[in-house]
């Protein structure tokens, strides 16, 4: 079984590396798919594994974008002058400056978002259930509104970053591998993390926080660390998105509460909350569904999206993995003794 799993993982990894070469026309879509996978996995860290349903993880995405942009610009120019010029004339970046900006920007965005998560989490983790969801949603919306009034980072106009210094096709490949690399590292990290004592502790918080606390788990510390890890990775992909999009503005592309901010929740619910593979499968299904249907709906795509959210939440909340676990428990290592009780419970 383990040998089979190792082979499976090697095949998947090989496919990840080969995908942009096999489908050169879909490089940007594939990169976006990895973005969705990363944000879904990070959402599931708090939402699925720890039971804290955040609607505001998009805050880290937007903040990551802005931090990365400010760092990469600040290395070369004065940020206020750059943003007020709005891309006019001040756009000369040497390749070395560009790649240093990308590297430091990603790192800085990740660290800054992790710190933000610690500070915000200290305030917000006193809220439970729906209050936490509304509070985090409030943070994301407020951040978008405040940034769009902040002239130093370009206000409502947003920021225009330099383009990739070499061939644009090569650039698409570059961003694909940045996203995919982050995704693979995150997946391996989570696979390890959920098997440790830490994973057991956050699952205990999800199942019953009072009891977990009574058992001597410092719940606040665990919650803060989990959220800041999630924030770290979302900040990094936010930074990559900033360089990939080149030009972005606060409300629609950075703090996009109703787009990506809700997509990640839907992906996780679609794939199955609280499982390792659920968010990945959900993100793939959702992204394929979205890209295939988007072109044919002509303006109604957002209505269809709202309908998809409602249908997923109301009728299919266990998701694909939950459904599979119910139908084929033996795949998940659960041994089912055939007796009257289980047969009666079989739907």
């Amino acid at each position: 079984m383990t040998a089979l799993k190792v082979i499976l993982y090697i095949v998947l990894l090989a496919f990840t590396v080969a995908a942009p070469f096999l489908f050169p026309d879909f490089r940007t879509q594939l990169a976006t798919l990895w973005l969705m996978i990363v944000v879904s996995l990070t959402w599931d860290m708090t939402g699925g594994q720890m039971g804290y349903n955040s609607l505001g993880n998009i805050f880290f995405y937007g903040t990551g974008m802005y931090v990365a942009a400010v760092i990469s610009i600040g290395l070369v120019y004065d940020v206020a002058e750059y943003t007020s010029a709005a891309g006019g004339g001040m756009n000369d970046f040497t390749p070395v400056q560009y790649f240093t900006g990308v590297g430091l920007g990603m790192l800085g965005a990740g660290i800054f978002c992790a710190l933000c998560a610690l500070i915000l989490g200290y305030i917000l983790f006193g809220l439970r259930g729906p209050y936490f969801a509304i509070g985090t949603l409030g943070v994301a919306i407020a951040a978008g509104e405040l940034v769009s009034n902040w002239e130093w980072v370009g206000g409502g106009q947003g920021i225009t970053l330099p383009v990739y210094p070499a061939d644009l096709d090569e650039g698409k490949l570059f961003f694909y591998f940045l996203f995919a690399g982050t995704g693979v590292i995150l997946f391996i990290f989570l696979r390890w993390l959920y098997g440790t004592r830490f994973g057991a502790a956050i699952n205990a918080i999800r199942d019953d926080e009072e009891k977990a606390e009574a058992m001597g788990i410092h719940t606040m510390r665990y919650k803060l660390v989990t959220w800041s890890m999630a924030g770290f990775f979302v900040g990094i992909v936010g930074a990559i998105s900033a360089f990939q999009l080149i030009s972005f503005e606060p409300l629609e592309s950075a703090y996009q509460t109703i787009n990506l901010g809700i997509f990640m929740v839907v992906c996780v619910l679609l794939g199955g909350k609280g499982t390792l593979w659920g968010p990945v499968i959900g993100a793939i299904v959702f992204h394929v569904f979205k890209e295939v249907t988007w072109n044919y709906l002509l303006g109604w795509q957002w209505v269809a999206l709202g309908a998809l959210i409602v249908v997923t939440v109301v009728y299919f909340q266990d998701g694909i993995m939950g459904w599979l676990a119910h139908r084929k428990p033996e795949w998940f290592g659960v041994r089912v003794e055939k007796n009257d009780a289980t047969e009666g419970a079989d739907r």
Binding site: N53, L55, I123, G126, L127, R128, G129, P130, Y131, A133, I134, G135, G138, V139, I141, A142, E145, L146, S148, N149, T257, I258, I262, V265, L269, G299, W300, W302, V303, L305, G306, A307, L308, I309, V310, V313, V314, Y315, Q317
Partner: protein, 304 residues
């Protein structure tokens, strides 16, 4: 920063500015209180936190605006929106809400968020993303030195209609058979069922009533301010602020909090500039949550 300080200075230099802001704020706050009362009703009776609240408000506004465009007298738009939004609320209840009542709270929150996105996008497709309003042919009253304070009669009519609606709903809840059934269900749904109340019917009625109240509030808003398909979420957030601050089943509290938030928002917009108005509404939510949190921490409890 200088701008902010000079705006604050203005408040002290000319006290009459305060009065003007306060009147504006209280008038808009009356409408927030109406939507928040609907939210408190649904929250208290069926434990559903409705994020589509604001979109019902905007939807009601568009109903009134559309009918006014067809030649209906603008003031008739309020009852018309009430009736039509009643129907829309009933459909929403039957299709979505009835299936999430028994589930955990995040489910209802997310389902209504999906509903909110759908309503906003359908309105956007049908009517476009421009801001809309109905112009009323009424004079404006002036008070104070140099007629500094202007109160359009249209706004006064709007506030009066809001008050009439609120009083009507309160009397209905107190006196009518259905109102009693709703209050009984809010206290203990299971006991109510045992005593022969058809709770399913009560839930459907409550949600439709909430939607209708929101629709009427929206119809008033379109007469005195502006609506736009995507303004919904801030109305929903304001309703959450008010209900979280006032608590459930606390009607005077809801009214006071609604008026207070209206006034605070106007002050904020005056001091920081109109661009921050949406941000202020959301920051007030965070402020209220943090205050409630500190209160709960004293009792060693968490807000849930």
């Amino acid at each position: 920063m200088d701008q902010i300080l000079s705006n604050i200075g203005l408040l002290f230099e000319f006290p009459i500015v305060n009065l003007k802001i306060l009147i504006d704020g209280l008038m808009i706050g009356a409408l927030f209180a109406l939507a928040a009362y609907g939210l408190a009703l649904v929250w208290g009776v069926m434990n559903v936190k409705n994020l589509a609240q604001g979109d019902f408000v905007i939807c009601g506004g568009y109903v009134a605006w559309y009918l006014a465009g067809l030649g209906l007298p603008p003031l008739m738009g309020v009852p018309a929106a009430f009736i039509i939004m009643w129907g829309i609320g009933w459909v929403c209840y039957k299709v979505v809400i009835s299936r999430v009542i028994e589930r955990d709270l995040f489910t209802s929150l997310l389902a209504t968020f999906g509903l909110a996105i759908m309503i906003a996008q359908i309105l956007n497709l049908l009517f476009g993303s421009d801001t809309q309003s109905i112009k009323l042919e009424y004079a404006t009253l002036y008070f104070g030195e140099n007629d500094f304070i202007d109160v359009p009669i249209a706004k006064l009519i709007g506030v009066c209609m809001a008050a009439v609606l609120a009083i009507g709903v309160i009397i209905f809840m107190k006196r009518s058979r259905m109102g009693q059934a709703i209050r009984a269900t809010a206290q203990d749904a299971r006991a109510a069922r045992v005593l022969g109340i058809d709770t399913e019917k009560v839930y459907a009625f409550t949600f439709s009533l909430n939607s209708a109240i929101c629709g009427a509030a929206g119809a008033i808003i379109v007469m005195v301010w502006l609506i736009q398909p995507f303004y919904g979420i801030t109305y929903a957030i304001r309703s959450f602020v008010i209900v979280t601050a006032a608590g459930l089943g606390n009607l005077p509290g809801v009214i006071a909090a609604g008026l207070g938030i209206g006034a605070l928002e106007q002050y904020g917009a005056h001091i920081f500039g109109i661009g921050y108005q949406q941000a202020i509404a959301v920051l007030l939510l965070l402020l209220v949550l943090v205050i409630r949190l500190i209160q709960q921490r004293r009792k060693r409890q968490s807000l849930q």
